[in-house]
């Protein structure tokens, strides 16, 4: 197959996947419903544990960095919740298509719907966790402004990036099972390299360490408006560029390996 044909069939697959929204939305909601079923508070457990983490680490790190809490805690809480949402999707993707193999080996369905189902699941968890952000911003931070609204369209932009990245990782980890661990370790390393715990200012004249990191820009796209200032032009450029690169990559992967995935399961 030529490169052109591969990309085209990959894009077609992506489109079919995205437009089958009834399927992935319903399945994701169903997944969350089942989580509620056997425990009274269901996904709120995640919120509680994230909330406790944010509070504890927030106090600890603001002392270590010697910054005041009103300044540090909102920064950390927002970054940490967004990170949880992003890394959750990546670690779901690292599991590959294996959890859906029964279905994939039986009927032909657009493959992106399985990835989207997992993505939506994490988005519902984020919805639960956003209460932490709301509490911290209202009681400790500066509250919400009109700029905060910008977080919502930006969040969608980042979600697109994450979905495309998830597709690439899922296909990759289905082919090479031992990559699951590598991806998980990689995610952890990225966490420490990205300004979530620490602020960019602490880098002093080495800010390029953050500037060269796309994940920093992704987080900034949502974190900045929530903290009351606009994302920089750089953040938008990086996000747009990663969207283009990931679209091409995901289309290539889907076009090239779509028909092989059933063989790998």
């Amino acid at each position: 197959m030529t490169l052109h044909a591969t990309l085209r069939s990959g894009l077609e697959e992506l489109k079919v996947g995205l437009t089958s929204h009834e399927q992935w939305l319903y399945m994701a909601v169903q997944d969350i419903k089942l989580r509620y079923r056997r425990s009274m508070i269901g996904p709120w457990w995640v919120t509680i544990s994230t909330g406790v983490m944010v509070m504890m680490l927030g106090f600890l790190w603001s002392h270590i960095f010697g910054t005041d809490l009103e300044n540090y805690l909102p920064f950390f809480a927002v970054g940490f919740v967004i990170w949880g949402w992003m890394s959750g999707q990546i670690s779901d993707a690292a599991g590959g298509f294996f959890q859906f193999q029964g279905m994939i080996k039986q009927v032909k369905l657009p493959l992106p719907i399985f990835v989207l189902r997992l993505n939506v699941r994490q988005c519902i968890v984020l919805l639960h966790n956003s209460i932490i952000v709301a509490i911290v911003l209202l009681f400790i931070g500066k509250g919400f402004t009109l700029v905060s609204l910008l977080a919502i369209p930006n969040l969608i932009l980042i979600q697109l990036n994450l979905t495309l990245l998830s597709i690439v990782i899922t296909i990759f980890c289905t082919r090479y099972q031992d990559m699951t661990q590598v991806v998980n370790v990689g995610t952890q390393i990225v966490f420490f390299f990205t300004p979530i715990l620490w602020q960019v200012e602490t880098l002093k004249n080495r800010t390029y360490l953050a500037e060269m990191n796309p994940v920093y820009h992704w987080i900034e796209m949502v974190r900045a408006p929530l903290l009351g200032h606009l994302p920089t032009i750089n953040d938008y450029i990086w996000t747009g560029a990663s969207l283009v690169v990931l679209s091409i990559l995901a289309a290539y992967y889907l076009g090239r390996y779509r028909s092989r995935i059933a063989y790998w399961l």
């Binding site: 009834e22 399945m27 169903q30 089942l34 029964g102 994939i104 080996k105 039986q106």
Partner: protein, 225 residues
């Protein structure tokens, strides 16, 4: 107009051991002398098929001859490694009727999940639910998680959902045996109706009887010698 065309289609299934599944080995493969052992099974070899409306194909052959692989290829799951495939028409796959069932979810939820995965719109689902509830006679049980069901009840539900929406092409692996004798008669009737509405049937079975009763042509698969 539904049709199935296979032209010289072969399916070769790779066997991934831990050895060649790891990325290190697949990178090193180009540099080391010892070539990886042949790691694939030829499940189908040069199959040519041409099925049109009204065709009822029986597929026979010993275990491991490739009957299920053929069905999966027709379903679009395995893309032939060589040769070509062209299928048009909606497909109902009765290879595994309890596909995608979730033990924690209730009977109704499972009906909805399956229906949605089969591409049915949310609006139509209500009528399907009622029809299935009536056919399966599961009544109040449909509100319970299906892990509480007996095997027979499980089968009833899976069977009813699988046969609820008419399709152009039906792929079946063995005749279904569902439940007790009363229900069996009902199920047989439903299945016959379901097949009647389709335009192409492909049935894999070991039973000569069944094949001669239901199909008008037979494909015999053999082990490669």
């Amino acid at each position: 107009m539904a049709h199935i065309k296979l032209d010289q289609a072969s399916v070769e299934i790779p066997i991934y051991s831990n050895h060649n599944r790891s990325i290190k080995n697949s990178l090193l493969k180009n540099f080391t002398k010892d070539k990886v052992l042949p790691h694939s099974v030829k499940a189908l070899n040069n199959i040519t098929l041409d099925l049109k409306d009204g065709d009822r194909l029986g597929v026979m052959g010993p275990n491991g001859a490739g009957k299920s692989t053929l069905l999966r290829t027709l379903a679009g799951v395995y893309h032939p490694t060589s040769g070509s495939i062209d299928v048009s028409g909606s497909i109902a796959s009765l290879i595994d009727i309890s596909l995608g069932m979730d033990g924690e979810a209730t009977g109704y939820e499972n009906i909805r999940m399956r229906a949605i995965m089969m591409g049915i719109k949310l609006k139509q689902i209500k009528t399907i639910e009622e029809e299935i509830a009536e056919f399966t006679e599961l009544g109040k049980f449909l509100e319970l998680p299906i892990r509480t069901y007996s095997t027979g009840m499980h089968m009833r539900l899976g069977f009813a959902v699988s046969t609820t929406v008419p399709a152009d092409i039906i792929l079946m692996d063995e005749w279904l045996s569902v439940g007790d004798s009363d229900f069996l008669i009902k199920a047989e009737k439903r299945l016959h109706d379901f097949i009647q509405k389709s335009s192409i049937l492909v049935l894999a079975s070991h039973s000569e009887d069944l094949i001669s009763k239901l199909t008008n042509q037979t494909l015999r698969l053999e082990h490669q010698t």
